[in-house]
Every structure is written in structure tokens, then in C-alpha cells.
Amino acid sequence: MATTSMAQAINQALADALAEDERVLVFGEDVGTLGGVFRITDGLAAKYGERRCFDTPLAESGIVGMAVGMAMHGLRPVVEMQFDAFAYPAFEQIVSHVAKMRNRTRGRVSLPMVIRAPYGGGIGGVEHHSDSSEAYYAHTPGLTVVAPATVADAYSLLRAAVAWPDPVIFLEPKRLYWSKEEVTLPVHAEPIGRAVVRRGGTDATLVAYGPSVRVALAAAEAAREEGWDLEVVDVRSIVPLDEETLVASVRRTGRAVVVAEAPGFASVASELTALLAERCFHALAAPVLRVTGFDIPYPSPKLEHHHLPDVERVLDAVAALQWEDA
């Protein structure tokens, strides 16, 4: 076993994809010579050449739009959006074309392409550098949306995303880039479309994805002292969603808290909460609660810790799950 960071795992996944499939291309802003502002593409241009990994002009819509044309004609582009909030110029391409090409052509043209974006906060970024934009993508039919929470998943889900027949939005929790695990690459984890129980428990289920999985796991650890045995389910694949794993867990425990750092209103957390309420109603001892970011523009570095769901806030929610009625 080797100690590997999430950044290394993503780099390795891209390198292995480039090595295995000559249709794969990696491009974006500063991804070539520099290796990306987070160094995720470090060394790829040198190793696989300028035709396979390269810098583009600074224009996100152009990057994604060009990838559409490439994917139409036999290539498998993997593009990097430099930061979550800088993907917005590409939004029209993503919503009107990336997501819809298969449908607009009655299944004749598919777009196997990956849009990678460092996402979420917790790194002390100034404004526009900490957005959690998963709801926009998850709300758009035609997109596959995944967010790894572990080093192994970062590698395995990215390889799966590159091989996936549909366009994938690959959200990389930037505050986990330097998190490390004992894992030897290549690693083959569960496929896209599967949630994973990260920690078994009997009293309540914490549902989380991306950067919030660690928070949920830490909360579950801390909850032991309070006498609660919490299960943690890592959603991993927001679209398609593995409803069965989530529902089975919550039916078993009878209580659930959904944790995500995006603003809670009209969010993925809201969708998960509604789903669990609909499908687990008779098994629930308490309403499903949400612990999310506030409904505010992402705060300044000095104040972001107030915004991000933390162990305390998760435990408060767990405490509010009507235990006295149990």
C-alpha cells in the first residue's frame, strides 16, 4: 500500500486514461505547461505530448463547445474548468448541448466527455473560488454528476467517467485534494450509479457526498460518545442516484440527516431529503433533516467556517431527530 493524495489519484487516472486510449484528450486553462493551478495535470503534457494535453485560449464556453465537437467525432475529451465558479461561462454549452445532444439526435449522437471542476470551499479561497454548483448540473437532464469523497474513488470514478458513454460532470472536492489514503493505484471501486455505506450504524443515517463525507464520518465518530451509532452513506453518484442503497439504510435506521455544503434551498440535499421522506415515510421516527450551507453567497475566507457544515452542526441535527419518542 502506498500513501496517495486525491490530487495524485486524479493525476494518475488521467495519465492512465491517456495511456490506454488514444482518443482521450486533456485540455483547459493552464493544464499544459503549468500542470493546472492545483497541479492535477502535472507532467501529462510532457509525457503524452502537446496534442494530448494542452492549454487553450481562456474561454470556458469555447473549451466545452470544442469538446462537444470532438466527442461528436470520435474523441474523448476531458476538460478542466479552473474553478467551479468559472464554469459558468460554459453553462449554455453544458445545458443546451452537452446535456441534450443524445436526446436531440434521438440517440444517434452521444457525447462521451468529462468536465472536471474543483468544487466546494474550505480552502480559504477569495470570492468565486468556493462554489458548490452541483445542483445546477443535477437539475439538468442528460448530465451524469459524480463527486468523489475518497482517494480511491477519485481514481476509480474518474476512470469510469472517461469510459462512460454520456457526458459526466466530475466534481473534485478541492479541500480534499491533499487528503491522503493508503491505496495502491490503479484501484477499481464501485461503479457510477452506486452509493456506498462508509460506516455501518443502527441509530440514524448520515447521507453525504464529496467534501461532506468526511464531516459526516467525523460526526459519526463523535456521536459514539453521545451513545448514537450512526451509519454514513456516501452518495458518490448524484446522477444517476442509487436510491436503493440510501432508502435501504434509512429504512433500517429510521432516522436520517443529509449533509452538504451547498446552500440548502432547492439543493441536492433538498432532493435527497424529499426522496427519503417519500420512500421511507413508514420507517421514519423523525423528519429527515438537512445540514447545509446557508442561503448566502459563499462567505469570505475568514468567515467560511461559519458557513460550512461541521461536526457540531451535524450532531445538533442528530440530536433533533426526536429520540424521546423512540
Binding site: M66, G69, Q93, N103, T105, T144, P240, L241
Partner: protein
Amino acid sequence: MATRSKAAGARLLPSAEPVRFIEADGTPVARRGLPGGPELRAAYRALVLGRRFEQQATALVKQGQLAVYPSAHGQEAAEVGAVLALRSTDWIFPTYRDSVALLTRGVDPVEILTLLRGEWHCGYDPYTHHAAPQCTPLATQAPHAVGLAFAAQARGEETVALAFVGDGATSEGDFHEALNFAAVFHLPVVFFVQNNQYAISVPVRRQTAAPSLAHKAIGYGMPGVLVDGNDAAAVLSVVGAAARRAREGEGPTLVEAVTYRIDAHTNADDATRYRPDEEVTGWLARDPLARLTAYLTNSGQLNVDVEAAVAAEAEELAADLRTRLVAEVPPPPRELFAHVYHRPTQRLRDQAELLRAESTAPEGS
């Protein structure tokens, strides 16, 4: 880049007057470079078929058979010339305006009108015809042409990609990004702007302060060419040269075809609210079909027999379109769920089932 001379820059600029081979009355401007008889007769045929197709489509709107039709009446020489200048393996990226281009490419007229008939899909197989689905979000197809050209080049093909763009759409960000990417990566792309003078109601002078749309090319380091879009011979020649350049590895070209939209933006638009009738009359006198017909007839390259045969073919096309379009059965509602992903998700399967149950539920249940 710094080594590029001023002279090289100047060569990127369009001519002051649009390239024209045939005057509005059919008189040839110059014989040099004028495409030959077979090419021009093919353009003539495509123009006649295109115009008849448009008339039929417009009639089908009136009969309630089409949801909407954006007519390219007046622009047929541009539509036809651009496509005939390409090889059938070259890709075209048309807009909602460019049905005649698709017809010229050989797409079944019923398939062309599928979307405008109110279906949710483009109707034809893009891979069969090397034609992307007709694009409505303005200029967003231009970066796709760039990407396709990139892929073609990477695969060692000689394929050229041509993006149709309207004058109004040149103001969109994607137009800029596409031209810039194509030039920076030196890709085999032709950007074919049909300046039909209006974007719905807004005249082209409100889109740009540049001397012409073709002038924009120099800002990207590619040549810009102005062409008389009502002269099929000139369009054939100019787009042909741009495609040749692209194929020979000399990079992209921006072509502005100066033309006019004779009809309203679509059947739902009232053009009298923003343009005088005299303007339309003036452009009717520059009709692309009359021009080519006059030239070919005067130069002895078209006789009444050929004319009659093409006219008969056009009537046949229209009749066949009417019959088949009206008989076309829309896909079942459950197919709405079939192509969202390569495999419908469980949610989509559940929703398809819900819709099925609703539509088979007995009355009053």
C-alpha cells in the same frame, strides 16, 4: 506572432466590395474564376428545389402541419453554394435558418422538417449526412465545428467543418470564442456568416460598428472574405477556396455572404414593423435564382428542357413532402425517456411507466 508583418495583416482584410461573378441581371462580371457549367447547373437545380421546398414548408405552416418555419427565401444561393462547395464528407453545422442547406446536402425533406413539425429531435442522422442537428441557441454550434475539425485533424482526415452563422449571432460570445480557437489551433473550419441584414427586427448596424462582419476576421488572424450571397457562382468559388485552404492546412476562414431575408423572421413575425416595403422590393430585384437562370440561359448553358425537368423534379419533391409529412406518425411518448441517457435511469423508467399507465387508464378512472 510578433513576426507577422503589417502586409500579412492587410491580406487578411476583405475586399471593399463583395466578390461577385454575376450581376443581378445575369451579366457575368468576369469569366475568370467563374465555376463551369456542370457546377452551376447543379447549383441551379439545388436553388430551384430549395425554393420549392421553402414554399411548401411555408404552406405547411399555414395548414397547421408545421409549428413554425424560418424561411431562407432570398438566401438560397448562399445556402446552396456553401454546401455544394464542400465534399459530402465535410461537416456542416446549420442553424434553424438552414433547411435548404440540409436539402442540398441530401437530407430527406421530411426529416429536415421533423423538429419544426414539433418533434423533440432533429429528425436526421447527423452521421449519415455529416450534418449536425439544426442549432437554435445562437452561435453555439460554432465551437462544435471547431471541435469536430480538431478531431478530424487529429485523426488524419481531410475533413473540413463549416459553421453557418447569422449576422446577429456574430455578436454572441461563442462566435468570438469559436473563431479564436479555430485560428489559434489552425483548424480546417469555414465560418459562413449569412448577413441577411436582420436579427429578427434588429438591423446589422446595431450588431457591429465594424466596416463589415468579414472585417472581424483580422482580429483573429484569419482571412475575412466578403461575397455577394445572392450570387451562387461567387459563393461556390469563395467557399470552395476557403475549404481548399482549410484542407491544405492553412487554417480557418471567415466568409460573410451579403444577402437578404425576403420573408419575415418566421411565419410568426411581422416584418412590416421594422423594415420598409421598398427595401424588400429592392432586394427582390437581386433574386439569386433569377440571376443564375439568366446567366445560364444567356450563355447557352441552360435550355427549356432542363428547366422543365428541374421544375418537374421540384413539384415532385413538394408533392412527396406533403404526402409523407402529413402521414408521419410521431414517436410514442415513452420515447421521451429513451435518449436522455445511454440507459434510462430508474427514475426515468418509473416516469415512463407512470406516463404509460396514465395513457392506458380507462376513462373516468
